[in-house]
């Protein structure tokens, strides 16, 4: 097991290197050249020259790349052009927000998607199955931002049940030791705040989780259908085990494998979707941050943000692989 993990970690290195090269090249490919890109429209000839000196832009490419990599490795991801704060500091504030939203979306997707897929598989070919197919298809066919807009309009404006913007009511004051507002509220012992934060998460989580919900439901259905027809299930049934025991002991546990993989792989989808969902709900996470950066041509933020997000994504994939190997011992040996 350990060897497996170590091997996967080692494989990580070329990917990370490749990523850093990609981002490095990308920043130089941006219109206006890197100095102007980093300074924004406030660039004066003196400040450009200053940057070129400081960055060594007149030095050979490999020197530049090395200084870029060493700066990043130190944890210095640059400074935002719009807010003039260190990118790393902004990530510290914004990343937990997106993670919280993503986890909420995942909880929504899994807790509704798995049962939905399971029921559809059990009632294969029947109306429930077809209904679930329609629902899941609609889920992946609807643009997230459109769904978010509709949800907001119906539940917040028309029905007034849920909030439309932000993470927490501005009149609620709690300390933020972790920047995960749900945990912070609990740490503050403030249940009212906890409920308020949860309310703010509901609509964005539904919008964001709609596609993973659909995918998880379909995978669960397919997976259960597969396993259902396997020999060992037939044997178990033949042995006389009750359907429920068969479900639990054999079907569910084995169908779990692809589901777990898919759940892990949704990370990328969720991070992309977060960009769109957060914009609609003015949710102060990485999504709105990156969108503002694109529009405001805040290249240090884009560079640091994309690098960071990709790093997280790669790590998640690693975790998924490890988890998969854990569940399925056959993989470790290969």
């Amino acid at each position: 097991m350990l060897r497996f993990v170590v091997r996967r970690l080692l494989l990580l290195i070329p990917i990370l290197l490749g990523l850093s090269v990609l981002v490095f090249v990308w920043i130089r490919a941006l219109p206006g050249g890197p100095a102007e890109a980093l300074l924004g429209e406030r660039a004066t000839p003196e400040s450009i020259r200053q940057i070129e000196d400081q960055y060594g832009l007149n030095k050979p490419v490999y020197v530049q790349y090395w200084s870029y990599v060493s700066t990043v490795a130190r944890g210095d991801l640059g400074t935002s052009v719009t807010t003039r704060r260190p990118v790393a500091e902004e990530i510290e504030q914004r990343f937990p927000a997106t993670v919280e939203l993503t986890i909420a979306a995942m909880i929504f997707a899994v807790s509704l998607g798995v049962p939905l897929g399971f029921i559809a598989a059990k009632k294969y070919g029947g109306p429930a199955d077809h209904a679930s197919l329609v629902v899941t298809l609609l889920g992946i066919s609807m643009p997230i931002f459109f769904l978010a807009i509709l949800l907001k309009y119906v539940f917040a404006v028309r029905l007034g049940l849920l909030p439309t913007v932000g993470r927490i009511d501005p009149l609620i004051d709690i300390s933020h030791p972790t920047n995960f507002y749900t945990i912070d509220a609990l740490l503050n012992g403030n249940l009212n705040a906890f409920w308020d934060v949860t309310k703010h998460l509901i609509l964005p989580a539904i919008a964001l989780g709609s596609i993973p919900l659909a995918i998880i439901a379909r995978i669960t259905r397919a997976s259960v259908l597969d396993v259902q027809n396997e020999d060992y299930v037939r044997t178990a049934r033949a042995k006389g085990l009750s359907p429920r025991v068969v479900d639990q002991r054999h079907i569910f546990r084995n169908a779990l494998l692809p589901i777990v993989t898919i759940v892990g792989l949704q990370a990328g989808l969720l991070l992309s979707g977060a960009v769109l969902t957060e914009t609609v709900f003015a949710f102060p996470g990485m999504g709105t941050w990156l969108v503002t950066a694109i529009k405001g041509r805040d290249f240090p933020v884009l560079q640091g943000g994309i690098l960071f997000v990709s790093l997280i994504f790669v790590l998640i994939n690693l975790l998924v692989d490890v988890a998969y190997a854990f569940i399925n011992p056959r993989i470790r040996v290969s």
């Binding site: 980093l38 003039r84 404006v157 913007v165 429920r244 102060p284």
Partner: protein, 552 residues
């Protein structure tokens, strides 16, 4: 069929839904603190930094207005200069030495005394800005009003400041100026606590490796210290800026306990937040939402007096726009009336010149232009250009301005009418910040671009002086007569003569046609019906200290 986990999930979901329905929807003002209540106001963006000397964006100015005061201010809702931290003032006969008598017993939020030394500290601080602080992005307003700094690279209107005693301060100028006093009402010239400025490194800034100018001290982000009716509590970007009532304020204390600014970028989202009770008011209401708000009994609309102008720049550095006939063709090719009639929900008025009608110096007899595609084509022919004439026309994205709530919409309508009038429009756009404004200022936004202006103080110099008193890259022309005329008008101390000079200038400008103004609007703010006492100002200098929440 039994699947245990499913049976657990369903009731949980049902429970959650019931809970959601039972709980009150959205946020709402809790009755925390004393009995004044708390208020949440929806802004369009976060402030950039809370140091008046270093900002020029509306949201920073809005926040700073609540916590800081200057020597003078404007009477709420007007452009009339009234005392603030100075109780009276006088200029010497030469007009270059201004003596201010300061209010006594005023303290900064950190407990230190407000006095003449503090005033001089502030003025000298601005005058002595060096290096990165001299960039236009850092000290725009100082440079517009006073010009240069102590290093004398460019001449400055400011000469020196003397603290005669604790309550008398003299500001010396290098030449007389009729707009100096009005300019002092600008948020950028509010007085901050010298102790706080020093302690929190307000003057630390650098050309950062990556961003150009950057203030590196914590003054502007964590310790803004003024004398105003609200004091700073905390600021979390993207979430909220919290201020509370200053109990030691020298004047009428604020009614509300806590004032919170909440940035919500999307205009429609702000409306929804208001309807849902998450905020109690917001700025920059879109024209089509005004009726929706008016139709809701729990909400109200407040009007800001019209003090802006929306116009189309004509860049004469781009040929053939240096030809008067071509510029006249542009004026004849823009269907301004249709745009004003249809896009502003009745709150826009066709602009005949580069100033709003309420400002003195407005001329009733300027040359007027109407939409006439045939005439436009004729003029182009007379000018000897080939039709259709290709023109790069720029407009901003991701922004809503009081004079231009939907820039893209205005652009499309104008482009269509120009295309019918012998032009061929090539569309270009850029996000407002940071690109668009910079491009317009530098003259790299094509031959035509959409822009506008909201007045900062009640002086015609703030409109047409700023635009046309000197050569600019934006308009790209040299018209010595016009420059001279506006220069004379600025210096003229006799107010009747001054008004006449500005009227003449407006006539000249509309003959010369450096651009085509099209609208003056009455911007709107939206509030809950129980919010009383908010006084909209033409220059957006608005105090929350007079606001009361009815029923609190």
């Amino acid at each position: 069929m039994g699947w245990r986990p499913l049976r657990l999930v369903l009731p949980l979901v049902a429970f959650a839904l019931v809970f959601a329905a039972a709980g009150c929807g959205g946020g709402g003002s809790s009755g925390g603190g004393d009995n004044g209540g708390d208020m949440v106001f929806g802004t369009a963006a976060d402030p950039v930094v809370l140091d008046g000397a270093l900002v020029s964006d509306g949201e920073s100015l809005r926040a700073i207005d609540q916590m800081f005061e200057g020597l003078v201010t404007l009477k709420p809702g007007t452009t009339e200069v009234v005392p603030a931290l100075a109780t009276s003032w006088k200029a010497d006969p030469a007009g270059t030495s201004w003596t201010f008598n300061l209010r006594e017993g005023v303290k900064f939020h950190d407990g230190t005394d407000f006095n003449a030394a503090a005033v001089c500290y502030n003025f000298d601080r601005w005058y002595n800005f060096k290096g990165p602080f001299q960039q236009q992005s850092a000290t725009y307003y100082w440079q517009t009003v006073f010009g240069g700094f102590s290093d004398k690279k460019t001449p400055s209107l400011y000469k020196s400041c003397e603290a005669k005693d604790d309550k008398t301060v003299v500001i010396n100028l290098t030449k007389p100026s009729a707009s100096f006093l009005g300019a002092l009402a600008l948020t950028n010239f509010t007085i901050a606590s010298p102790e706080a400025l020093k302690e929190f490194d307000a003057d630390k800034g650098s050309v950062d490796e990556e961003t150009g100018f950057k203030p590196t001290g914590t003054y502007g982000t964590e310790h803004p210290t003024g004398t105003g009716p609200f004091k700073f509590v905390s600021w979390t970007r993207g979430d909220r800026l919290v201020m509370e009532r200053n109990e030691d304020y020298w004047g009428d204390k604020a009614h509300i306990d806590k004032l919170i600014f909440r940035p919500i970028a999307d205009n429609a989202a702000r409306l929804q937040a208001l309807q849902n009770g998450e905020i109690q008011g917001y700025d920059l209401v879109e024209p089509q939402d005004i009726n929706t708000i008016k139709g809701d009994d729990s909400l109200q609309i407040l009007d800001r007096p019209a003090f802006n102008v929306g116009y189309v720049t004509i860049n004469q550095k781009v040929k053939p726009f240096d030809n008067l006939k071509v510029r006249q063709a542009v004026a004849a090719g823009l269907d301004r009336q249709s745009v004003v009639d249809n896009f502003y929900a009745g709150r826009g008025q066709l602009a005949t010149q580069f100033m709003p009608p309420s400002l003195e110096g407005y001329a009733d007899d300027v040359q007027e232009y109407t939409y006439d595609p045939a005439k436009a084509k004729q003029l182009l022919q007379q000018a000897g250009v080939q039709t259709p004439l290709k023109v790069d026309f720029w407009y901003p994205t991701d922004i809503s301005r009081p004079y231009m709530p939907d820039p893209k919409r205005n652009f499309e309508a104008f482009a269509a009418s120009l295309n019918k009038s012998g032009f061929q429009v090539v569309p270009h756009s850029a996000p407002w910040s940071p690109d668009y404004v910079g491009r317009v200022d530098e003259g790299t936004a094509g031959g035509l671009n959409l822009i506008g202006w909201t007045g900062d103080f009640g002086d015609p110099d703030n409109f047409i002086g700023t635009f046309f008193q000197q050569p600019t890259d934006q308009f790209g022309f040299e018209n010595k007569e016009l420059f001279g005329l506006l220069d004379r008008a600025e210096r003229e101390t006799d107010s009747a003569k001054r008004i006449d000079l500005y009227k003449e200038a407006n006539r000249e400008i509309m003959k010369f046609l450096p651009g085509v103004p099209y609208v003056n609007t009455e911007p709107a703010l939206a509030f809950n019906s129980n919010i009383k006492g908010y006084v909209p100002s033409p220059v957006s200098l608005e105090q929350f200290s007079s606001v009361e929440i009815e029923g609190q």
